[in-house]
């Protein structure tokens, strides 16, 4: 136990790396996912098909495979990306597919009557989208997006499999160095619980603030 406290800094550095990974990967996934989501609801057939293909492929492959392909595959394709960046890219590409579906179902969740009413009072297409559909869609997306953020944090643990010393990786390393499984893993579990419970609480608060009662 005392060994753990003496070297707690290493685990805290790992926790910090986990947070950094998530903090960069989530916005990236948000950008990718929103672009894909827009493609999937657009009237342009080929774009819909391409975005759909991407989403199906990513959602049906294991995340570790995506991670391994990005981390070990990119150098073969002539792109040398640092390890940290590769893991961020892998997380962004993977969770972008999930965010795309969230965006799509957020838009699909807006009742048809709202859109018809907006068109009936003479709003143009962009007016319907900007003033009626998107504000409602964004509000209904808070909870699923919070879940995806939690999953990005948990997914960043796969960085340990490719050699990033984030929380899981540092716990593993610590265990190999000092052979203190129980305290080490409990410390890591507490770290993840802190992250997921905080995000869960925050999304709960935001969700209650912006919820639309129908």
């Amino acid at each position: 136990m005392s060994v753990l406290f003496a070297h707690l800094g290493e685990l805290l550095t790992g926790l910090l790396t986990t947070l950094e990974l998530a903090a960069i990967a989530f916005p990236l996934a948000l950008v990718i996912g929103t672009l894909l989501g827009v493609c999937r609801v657009s009237p342009i057939g080929p774009l819909r098909a391409a975005a759909g293909f991407y989403v199906h492929c990513l959602r049906n492959s294991p995340m570790l495979l995506v991670m391994v392909m990005v981390v070990f595959g990119l150098p073969y394709l002539g792109a040398t990306v640092p390890l940290f960046g590769s893991v961020v890219l892998g997380l962004g590409l993977y969770f972008g597919a999930y965010i795309c579906e969230t965006v799509r179902s957020g838009i699909a969740g807006v009742p048809l009557g709202q859109i018809e009413a907006a068109r009936a009072i003479g709003l143009t297409f962009s007016g319907v989208l900007r003033q009626v559909v998107l504000p409602q869609a964004f509000r209904s997306m808070v909870q699923p997006l919070g879940n995806i953020l939690i999953n990005v944090c948990l997914g960043s643990a796969l960085g340990a499999a490719v050699g990033v010393q984030e929380l899981t990786g540092s716990a593993r390393q610590f265990n190999l160095d000092f052979a203190q499984p129980i305290p080490t893993f409990i410390a890591a579990v507490i770290g993840y619980l802190l992250i997921t419970l905080t995000i869960g609480q925050l999304t709960g608060v935001v969700e209650r603030k912006v919820r639309i009662r129908r």
Partner: protein, 291 residues
């Protein structure tokens, strides 16, 4: 395509249709550009040479990967089967009126959903052996999957039970069933029928999670892909091939889940309104299901 929300657009007039055609052509050209650029880059770094792709049509390599696929299916299906039982028990435990059952169940469910699966795998891989517990590799991989997927499924079961009409419980109580009998005879059959798509999704989840065999060195599909890729020095090609196998299998399963999810007209009595099809499938997805 049903993904399109039709009311967003007016029927396009001649000018709008022309614009749409132009946009479509531009989009097609852009997509061709992206794919062509990617292929050009692949050719440039000489990843398209036949030498690198040929190993993938050699029977010995294919057989090796098929063995990996078999292991993946073994781990995935075993994990799914046990996690269904485990998840149902945990979910019902969490719904129990006895605090000394429901609180530990709730705690375990929240715990396993809140930590990454790979941490659990590492605990079984390097934590337990320090206490002299040496599990066979199959179980080092499968037990964490069961714990993780079971906890997620427990929440799905709980949501299923909670969404059941209250009248079902009242009616069961009225004919004198005890709580346990109500669950087994009345509630669970209905919940499981409603959850059939979720059962298939559970299989997809465990199949994907079994790729963590890569971490513990257990020869499932991803790990075998790595071995073959190393042996033939064609990482990119082998991983691409492996990805295709995963995607084909899981896509097929998710189609099955979608078919099961279709609202059934036959079973409803005509005087009853059909239940609302879930407008936000992604929103109802609990955390911890994606990896």
């Amino acid at each position: 395509m049903k993904s399109r929300s039709p009311a967003l657009f007016d029927e396009l007039g001649p000018r709008g249709q022309k614009r749409l055609k132009i946009a479509t052509v531009v989009a097609v050209l852009a997509l061709i550009g992206i794919v062509g650029g990617a292929l050009a880059q692949l050719a440039h770094v000489q990843q398209l040479t036949a030498r690198l792709w040929e190993p993938l049509i050699e029977w010995s390599n294919i057989r090796y990967l098929l063995q990996g696929l078999l292991t993946t299916l073994e781990v995935g299906l075993t994990g799914a089967a046990i996690s269904l039982v485990f998840g149902t028990l945990m979910g019902l435990g969490r719904l129990s009126t006895h605090k000394w059952v429901s609180i530990p169940c709730a705690g375990l469910i929240e715990l396993f959903r809140a930590i990454p699966l790979i941490l659990l795998v590492y605990f079984f891989l390097i934590g337990l052996p320090m206490f002299g517990w040496n599990l066979p590799p199959f179980w080092v991989l499968t037990i964490p999957i069961v714990l993780h997927a079971g906890a997620v499924f427990a929440e799905i079961v709980r949501a299923g039970v909670n969404s059941l009409d209250r009248g079902q419980f009242d009616a069961a109580a009225a004919i004198g069933l005890r709580r346990g009998q109500t669950m087994v005879l009345v509630v669970l059959p209905q919940v499981f029928r409603a959850l059939r798509p979720a059962l298939v999704t559970q299989v997809i989840r465990t199949l994907k999670e079994s790729s963590l065999g890569y971490v513990v060195g257990y020869p499932e599909l991803l790990r075998d892909g790595q071995v073959i890729g190393e042996f033939n020095a064609n990482f990119v090609q082998t991983y691409a091939f492996t990805a295709v196998i995963y995607i084909v299998i899981n896509f097929g399963l998710s189609r099955v889940a979608e078919l099961l999810d279709r609202p059934k007209k036959v079973r409803r009595r005509p005087d009853r309104p059909a239940p609302d099809p879930d407008p936000e499938p992604a929103a109802s997805q609990p955390a911890g299901t994606l990896v």
